[in-house]
Symmetry: C2
Subunit: 304 residues, 2 copies
């Protein structure tokens, strides 16, 4: 693999940035990677585990001479970081991000960037329930999708960013801003909100103890707890900034849920059976698309 | 391991019964296991793959001389099967079941059973999204819970059934009927209903294509699709027969969901952050209890 960007700066050193660093090293697509995190403790951890070639004490220092700057911070602080680094960006460099929401992130970042800097928003759709600088690994993006939302960006700069993400293992797809936020509300944001809610309800019941919920979780509940253990700051910002699309999908969800609730109340077995049959086909599609394995129980090993 | 029951009859040959058969063989807890399924095709498959020592052409034949009869049929047909076999049960034998609901199953089975037969309801809380005679495997119950709901059954017969399930790899816990149905509504029934709903909503949207939902499913949605691929007959019967508890928990769920929806609408980030933080602790508890692994992404292998 040849070098795509001479110097890459990663701002924010959590799960995504740390995985990017290890994947960049695996692929050899950058000569030098600088990193910055707001928390001193995170910077210390990064230095200790060799995360980034240079860990800088300011974002301004990290972006100096960078050909690609990737903002890997929570969606809610993207604008402030962009304002901070903007005067120090190299002419002709590309600025990108990894935010789960695109409309509000673009609105937050774009106004700060000077002429001559290419802004190519991106969203690698990969993650685990872990967070922080030590949670990254070099295969996180393999065979996952990275959505590229050029929003009018320079074509050469966009293609270069796509080459970069492909080298990190991802498949790229371009999408427009509104559609991106809609798709993500369905496949990611609302599933997370529902999982959080289910776990919250279970935590809150008086007649069924938390001990019981944990003990008997393998019966279905457990599948919700993984995504409900995701980073709270990241998810708070997602819902605050993708309000319109999440509220719309949420409306559809409660509508369907009420229809099923009604079928339960009235004892309409045919309606329930038909609904439960229809949903099986989607699972089959996901396995065929290589986005999960067919192994029962997620191919999970025997618990200890 | 010594023999617990001389002869065991498994009525219904799906995921649970087939897993029980292989686990019985692994443990050597029965001398002979007979099996029966209503569908001729299932019986043929069972004979072909060596599932059960003898596959019978009627339930009546299968239960003859059995010391333990386990009803492994959907909850909705338990009563009919019990009525069918009742006159042919050996005096002093134990009848049990594997239903996910206990109150209505007991009401359906108990009236048919003759004096001198012990009825000890049970519920092994284990499963995968696959179904049918070929889906079973001998480790399904290892370190999973089998809830025993004696409901006044003979103590010796109850202890014997517990010994049997422990030999199959399960941990046993006794519960009373009402509490069982409540606990299962929380940890199993409502999570399944919600997963089915989420998958149904995604399937139904016009602006986001099914192709996109499948393609980008790794972002959270995928975790719902596994349990939403479970057996439709089984789940229809669960909701029809555990109506009261599922409607109650569903009410709590929508109440919480509306509270979070309101926080999104009003932009109450603190409320969202607090909620998302609280749910992390439960995940930690589940891993500590050995009911899931800490490996990111469920320790799932790299997709093909």
């Amino acid at each position: 693999m040849s070098v795509v960007y001479n110097r890459v700066a990663l701002i924010g050193l959590g799960l995504i940035a740390s995985s990017m660093y290890w994947a960049i090293k695996r692929a050899g697509v950058a000569v030098e990677v600088t990193g910055y995190a707001r928390s001193e403790q995170t910077r210390e951890t990064a230095r200790r585990i060799g995360l980034c070639d240079v860990v800088c004490d300011s974002a301004v220092e990290a972006v100096k001479d960078a050909d690609l700057v990737v903002l890997c911070v929570p969606v809610g602080v993207m604008g402030a970081v962009a304002a901070d680094i903007a005067p120090h960006l190299k002419d002709g460099c590309t600025v990108s991000d990894v935010g789960s929401v695109k409309k509000s992130v673009i609105e937050a970042i774009a106004p700060h960037l000077p002429e001559g800097v290419h802004f190519v928003p991106a969203h690698p759709m990969a993650g685990t329930e872990h967070s922080g600088p030590e949670s990254g690994f070099d295969t996180l993006f393999d065979n996952r999708w990275c959505l590229i939302v050029p929003n009018g960006a320079d074509e050469a700069a966009t293609e270069r960013l796509e080459t970069f993400w492909q080298a990190l293992g991802a498949n790229c797809e371009r999408m427009d801003v509104e559609h991106h936020d809609q798709v993500c509300a369905v496949v990611s944001h609302i599933p997370h909100l529902i999982a959080y809610t289910m776990v919250g309800v279970a935590d809150d019941l008086r007649r069924v103890s938390e001990r019981e919920v944990i003990k008997f979780s393998a019966a279905g509940f457990r599948d919700f707890t993984r995504i409900a253990a995701s980073d709270p700051t990241m998810w708070r910002d997602v819902f605050l900034t993708n309000k319109e699309a999440t509220l719309e999908i949420l409306g559809r969800f409660t509508e369907e849920l009420f229809a099923l609730q009604r079928s339960i109340r009235t004892g309409d077995g045919d309606q329930l059976f038909d609904y439960f049959t229809r949903t099986r086909a989607i699972r089959r599609g996901i396995i065929e698309a290589g986005q999960d394995t067919e192994a029962p129980d997620f191919g999970r090993g025997k618990p200890q």
